[in-house]
Subunit: 312 residues, 2 copies
């Protein structure tokens, strides 16, 4: 049921040769190496804590937020290595949020990316602590690893942007609202507002911060932020479509978990066709924001399509 | 059993008139106002998340880390208002750590400061999220509220210092080790190493960061860091003495909880007299570090005494 064709796509035509696979692999590789380097420096006795952190980071994942961050940096003429440290911090935050969301008191999920969730593998206390440590590690990275080319004033500013997006005004509030909505009847508008917090805020921060680190103007930062808000919501709709009938093998988790938790989804509020239309519309909007960047917008356009059309 | 007299105390004589009560009240007041200002800006719908955060912050507490931070700033000639934002961040981190430590999967405590713990008042999921949000809020404050007199390079540096102290290399590792040690036979040396992580690291960061924000030299920062390491451990010994036979009314929680959890304490490893001697020794060492600061060291000396001799 995931979108196979996102509809009108005139600006960044499919005939353009853009090799997203190689693009993703290169950036994912950079991020994985840098995350590994950071984790290698942490010694814990007993080693359980760092093992749990490593387990969650190494479980894989698309590294979507880091790639978006580095892509936005390059979009405005920056070097991806200047955004790499922030990209890693965003992945650390995203990973912590998954660990805590999976906890028995929250979504109570047993599987994540085909493997036992952190609390299943390491116990609940260690999973809470691993999440705490991953979140804190993000800010350690942000405080200690800016590239020399990043002005300290920008390094401070992006910390504020990321923390605001991740905390009570953003992602954490989204998760709280998600739990609150369980079993309740909600409209699509309410659900969209929830996803803007839970998923959108950190995606917006990813591209905004990337553009800031690349030396983008305020207008450029605002433009990518808008792009981020569209793809953040589109991402969640795609997720809902996948949860409804994606391939559990590809997803690495059982499908239908939203239904089991009596969670409202894009499907339950909009219907399948409505959800597909909504995603296609958001994709169009995201692409049209990028037109001002011309050819340079291609990677972010391809990423937007990937977000909506992915199968896992 | 808490120490009533800390023994040799020649440098900062008790005859000096230093009104610690007023000193504490003034600084606690500044911190409470600033924390309130920050929390007032956060709007959550439903309001549960911000209510839970506020509940934990407003539960009181000595604001010891913030006071230490501002005191260290003034010690090296800085203005306390330059350290106020970092002081608030430290309290946010300390508060989050209490919320998560109290969780059923961790220490499973029902009372904190005479009131139901966060998960007892708001449920487990909301307590996990409130802790996450408080931790994230600390970095939002650090990223968005430095005084204009703080150079951005220093603002970035203190974020790295605080995050390192709070995370897998510091406090979180200490908590993990604490859980790991439950029911095990440990030596005083092992226990002291644990407390250096769990309590000491953030205390050290509090004074170090205060001195950095006050424009202290590397030697001054190193000196207060050493002071912080002594009082961090002394604080924990005093805590153990209080847990063994403090006044539950004053403590706001039942005594004897360490024994119930089969946790090793300063008492169980050193005996009462040994623990008292150890605390007195650490106090002496902390005071002697301050001698190079002359009269200016008085507030931190009084705070060191307070840490060891407090009754709650």
């Amino acid at each position: 049921m995931a979108l196979k064709d996102s509809g009108t796509d005139t600006v960044f035509g499919r005939n353009d040769v853009f090799d997203l696979d190689s693009y993703l692999k290169e950036k994912q590789n950079l991020v994985n190496i840098e995350l590994g380097r950071f984790l290698d420096e942490v010694t814990c006795s007993p080693p359980t804590l760092i093992q749990a952190m490593r387990y969650c980071i190494e479980a894989g994942g698309k590294r979507l937020r880091p790639v978006l961050c580095m892509a936005a940096c390059e979009l405005v003429g920056g070097r991806q290595t200047d955004a790499l440290y922030a990209a890693c911090a965003l992945e650390l935050i995203h990973t912590y949020s998954l660990v805590h969301d999976d906890l028995p008191a929250m979504d109570n999920d047993d599987l994540r990316r085909g493997k036992p969730t952190c609390h299943k593998a390491f116990g609940e206390a260690n999973a809470i602590l691993a999440g705490d440590a991953l979140l804190t590690a993000a800010f350690e990275v942000l405080g200690s690893r800016p590239s020399e080319r990043v002005p300290p004033s920008v390094a401070v500013r992006i910390i504020s942007v990321i923390a605001k997006a991740a905390g009570a005004s953003g992602m954490v509030q989204g998760q709280q609202r998600d739990l609150f909505f369980e079993g309740k009847t909600v409209t699509w508008e309410e659900l969209a507002a929830l996803h803007r917090l839970k998923t959108g805020a950190l995606m917006e921060a990813s591209v905004s911060v990337g553009a800031m680190l690349g030396g983008g103007t305020d207008e450029q930062v605002a433009a990518v932020n808008t792009y981020g808000s569209y793809i953040g919501l589109a991402f969640q709709i795609a997720d809902d479509l996948l949860d409804a009938d994606g391939d559990p093998e590809l997803l690495g988790k059982p499908v239908g978990s939203d239904q089991a938790l009596a969670k409202a989804t894009a499907l339950s509020t909009l219907g399948v066709e409505g959800a597909r239309r909504q995603a296609a519309d958001l994709l169009d909007k995201a692409l049209s924001v990028l037109t001002v960047f011309g050819k340079r917008g291609e990677p972010l356009a391809a990423l937007a399509r990937f977000v909506v059309e992915r199968t896992h």
